[in-house]
Symmetry: D2
Subunit: 135 residues, 4 copies
């Protein structure tokens, strides 16, 4: 399973005085979807930290905003793995209005690194994440 879709409702907290979702909102929504991808593989951030001493941290992101989301919109946030190699996972991500066929609001490519909690040095991705993945 390399793709996860997450429904997100837009609340007041996500909007700004320009009447639309404040751009950091998409950033947070996309991180939620990556976290759900993790959970779908049986792992969560806390277990990863406490049990394995590992963290997944965002290394780089490119985002393009094509249309604004508004208060009370329902959004469909996607996270699809494009590559896993060594300590890195690359996700293609999108936010659409309503559902997976809806109007495209934002696309992104996010590069995530696996590091050890103590030294923040790169560590191989756990097998639970890479199992079944073929390039």
């Amino acid at each position: 399973m390399s793709e996860v879709l997450l429904q997100v409702r837009v609340y007041l907290e996500d909007t700004d005085a320009q009447g639309v979702v404040y751009n950091a909102g998409y950033f947070r929504f996309m991180e939620r979807a990556r976290t759900e991808w993790l959970r779908a593989r049986g792992i969560d951030h806390r277990a990863l930290m406490e049990r394995d001493g590992l963290q997944l941290v965002l290394h780089a992101i490119e985002m393009k905003f094509t249309a604004p989301a508004r208060l009370d919109d329902l959004l469909c946030v996607a996270a699809e793995v494009r590559e896993m190699r060594g300590a890195r996972v690359t996700f293609a991500q999108s936010v659409r209005r309503n559902d997976a066929e809806g109007e495209l609001l934002c696309v992104a490519q996010a590069e995530v690194a696996c590091v050890d909690v103590r030294g923040q040095r790169p560590r191989r991705l756990p097998a639970a994440l890479t199992d079944g993945w073929k390039e």
Copy 2:
């Protein structure tokens, strides 16, 4: 229908360096539940603004924090109307771990006022909200 329960997942964005949910998180979660109460009555903030020229704004809140929520927790956020009168709605609210019977993390009483968008003056609550409500 005077009570709404909302499931909320704790994401990284909600936590802080003390390892728990940053207190403003509960504040946001409770506002989400009040918004879902609104939606359950067939109204949303945007319709209220654009169609009726009205806003529901928080007038006062009292919060007590009894135990911390942690990353990846699933929370149950409740909003129950305690009183509706004129331009005011008072909600009793709580956040519990996992479900409606779970460990109590936070309780609050929130007083919300209905105001007109332009002048921010108090306005009677719309009938859609008060219909069926008996003191």
Copy 3:
């Protein structure tokens, strides 16, 4: 020194689609002011955690919102100690427009508890905080 004043600028991130500061913003601004009170006494959260194994956590808060702050406003946020006793500090707080004489936007009373990082049990406030304080 029992009072601290902090200037805060309102950015897009602080506002919502109702055109004003989203209420959790005041919550965050007040926490910033309490942190600056700490810093003014020579301590910060990180030192407190890493050196003393202690955390200051919000136990209860009461907030009243009297007028909205808007995008680009300059705010004056105050934190004044009202009581220190055992593991507790109580702050009277306010947010005013422009400066300490400006229009009152929000008042609050915040009760903060000192706990140990590991067990989250109450611990006496460090002497650096209570020195010179008289009831």
Copy 4:
């Protein structure tokens, strides 16, 4: 004046359970610096909206995270205009620890578009922003 530097203090609200600044924090800090660039030219978002019917909205951003910021850090956030053309401004941005010579934590390139409030269609940048700018 094509560059602005802004000092930002890291508060609890900016951090996450991984013990560092949550990445959306850099996003918000960079938007604050772009807003200060605007203000340094005598304009703010509210005036732009209310007087000119214009908004500056983020169109695209690329961010690279090179080292984590921590609770209580003081950061230096830079926004430098690299290009202004038609309805677009491109900023090179960075976040460094302590000051403009400090350790590099994050770099970004942000492309901002000027649009009209009503239709969200591209509009020429106001002269107040482009005056004195030479490619």
